[in-house]
């Protein structure tokens, strides 16, 4: 097992977790406004998946995308400043928490209408195929997307045109406050993908290594055979849908059960079990992540707000 790889993944997952905690704190202080959807509990999905792809592969995500952004860019400052609505944010303060973009790193959003970005991701994959470029597009979305028309149209087109698209459903069991069994007629979202048809696989989304291997396989296949692939990552969000949601629709026991398989804890156990690092060394990595987030918060606080005279910029090219 590659020690540097495991420690790198651990460090990234800590960064995602600490970033979200800091964002929630800043929200409670009124420094971050609007909607804030936290990723805590799902870190293994974003970090595992994005560690498995090339830098030139594209990523298209949702409004719960801080971790995808961080895993791709490592840019905690740009993300935090965006949440703070500052000019130095990765979207210049025009986007906010739900609309992180970084063209240079091929991070294509940050979209906040459920399912609307799935056809867009298919379009990015279409462009790669059209230009005969080797790049694959990763599209992240939640389980609640599985009933949206745009989701199905995106999958239908990706399948019939054989697009190099890897669809990653983060099944965290809840579409906002509604448990999946009340709104989805099948137990596994991936069942739906098979009908298009496309290859589909269920992955333990709390296991970063399993996630990484599954995405590596899916991307490999998408790249070589120009075929879409569907992955359903079973996971759980520890917090509510957004910071405004106390998540009273779930029992303490249920949350407790999932927190026992905290993806960061699972990876820490594995690292220690393999003798790659001890608790103190892991603690140090976490401290590093905390310091990076603290730096990002300070950067965001000190950054200027967008200049008022720029309000009408970028409406048109």
């Amino acid at each position: 097992m590659d020690a540097a790889l495991l420690l790198g993944l651990y460090r990234q997952m800590c960064l995602c977790r600490r970033f979200e905690e800091a964002a929630a704190k800043a929200y409670s202080q009124g420094k971050v406004q609007g909607f804030l959807h936290l990723y805590i509990g799902q870190e293994a999905v974003a970090v595992g998946a994005i560690s498995a792809i090339e830098e030139t592969d594209y990523i298209v995500s949702t409004y719960r995308e801080h971790a995808h952004y961080l895993a791709r860019t490592g840019d905690a400052r740009g993300a935090m400043a965006e949440l703070f609505g500052k000019a130095t944010g990765c979207s210049g303060g025009r986007g906010g928490s739900m609309h992180l973009f970084d063209a240079r790193h091929r991070f294509l959003g940050g979209w906040a209408i459920v399912g609307g970005h799935v056809p867009i991701a298919a379009g990015v994959a279409f462009a790669s195929k059209y230009r005969e470029e080797p790049d694959v597009t990763l599209c992240f979305f939640g389980d609640g997307t599985a009933n949206q028309g745009a989701f199905h149209e995106g999958l239908a087109i990706a399948a019939v045109w054989k697009l190099p698209l890897v669809l990653i459903c983060e099944n965290n069991q809840y579409a906002m406050g509604t448990p999946l069994y009340r709104t989805l007629s099948v137990e596994d979202v991936s069942v739906r993908a098979r009908g298009y048809p496309m290859e589909a696989e269920i992955v333990n989304g709390d296991d970063v290594l399993e996630m990484r291997e599954a995405v590596r396989h899916a991307v490999d296949r998408a790249r070589k055979e120009k075929l879409p692939f569907f992955l359903e990552a079973k996971t759980y969000r520890f917090r509510g849908h957004s910071v405004a949601d106390p998540a009273k629709y779930r029992t303490k026991e249920e949350v407790q059960k999932w927190m026992e398989r905290d993806p960061i804890g699972l990876l820490a156990q594995r690292i220690q079990h393999l003798g790659i690092a001890n608790e103190g060394q892991l603690q140090a990595l976490d401290e590093e992540a905390k310091a990076q987030v603290q730096d990002a918060v300070e950067f965001a606080e000190e950054s200027p707000a967008p200049a008022p005279e720029t309000v009408a910029e970028y409406v048109y090219a």
Partner: protein, 342 residues
Amino acid sequence: MPEPRVITFREALREAMVEEMERDPSIFLMGEEVGHYNGAYKVSEGMLDRFGERRVIDTPIAETGFAGVGIGAAMVGLRPIIEFMTWNFSLVAYDQLVNNAAKLRYMSNGQFTLPIVFRGPEGAAHALGAQHSQALESIYAHIPGLKVVVPSIPADAKGLLKAAIRDNNPVIFMESETMYSLKGEVPAGEHLIPLGVADLKRPGRDVTLVTWGKITHTALKAAEALAADGIEAEVLDLRTIRPLDEAAILESIRRTHRCLVVQEGWPFAGIAAEIITLVAHQAFDSLDAPPDRVTCLDVPMPYARNLESLVVPTPERVVGAVRRLLGRDDAPPQPVIAVRGR
């Protein structure tokens, strides 16, 4: 100076697409029936043979899907032309156009441009019923981030479509089933008309008819009838709704002192309301009469031909409205069914 030839509106559109696709390999045409069927209205006839399946792409009946595919492809540098079989069908893709295409550049702080054209016919044709007869430019022109183009003659169709394809913004390009066979002189080869520039289709001194798209021909017929009676109506064809050529509108009104907007769409919150606001605010002192509008009646389109012909603006209704504006004693009253928004 290129040689003018007489071709149809449909051929003019095709010529624009073919010339641009020959020039730039990143342009492709995508939509329902555009390829093997040669286009539901034959606009893309022969293009599959010319460019092949890679660049003339038949889609499933999934407007949200293929509109979104176009947006994604444009985000990473391609220049899609997305055909809606009619703009009525674009409504199932409205989320893609409004929430995604119109917003991307702004909410990414200018990191992305979106060079994409959505085109197809809109408005009433003949007895197509309520779901296939809508003039929808107002609901697109409402949205910052979109441009909206509605040509009225073949030469403009070609020049504006070429400009729309070269534009780096999402452009809504609206044609009409009933105009596809309309013939007119069209310059061969390079012929570009900048977006946002109105065109005076008929000069006049007594009243300005502000119009666009196929209703321009209704306004021209009305102007012809009025001329027989000694009333000289100016017909200003906006050609582009967004950006709006405000200067051309105001310049004309300041000369004629009277403004009648003639539009196919419904009255309530329509484009005429926007233009009349502009005129009232910027040319108030030039006006000899309150600005007015002739629009589609404020009802869904009925199927029966006698009812349909009541709903769509006609030259007779335009003539009546002009006579009322000029205070002619013999002016007919407003139509029985209120055209005011309710």
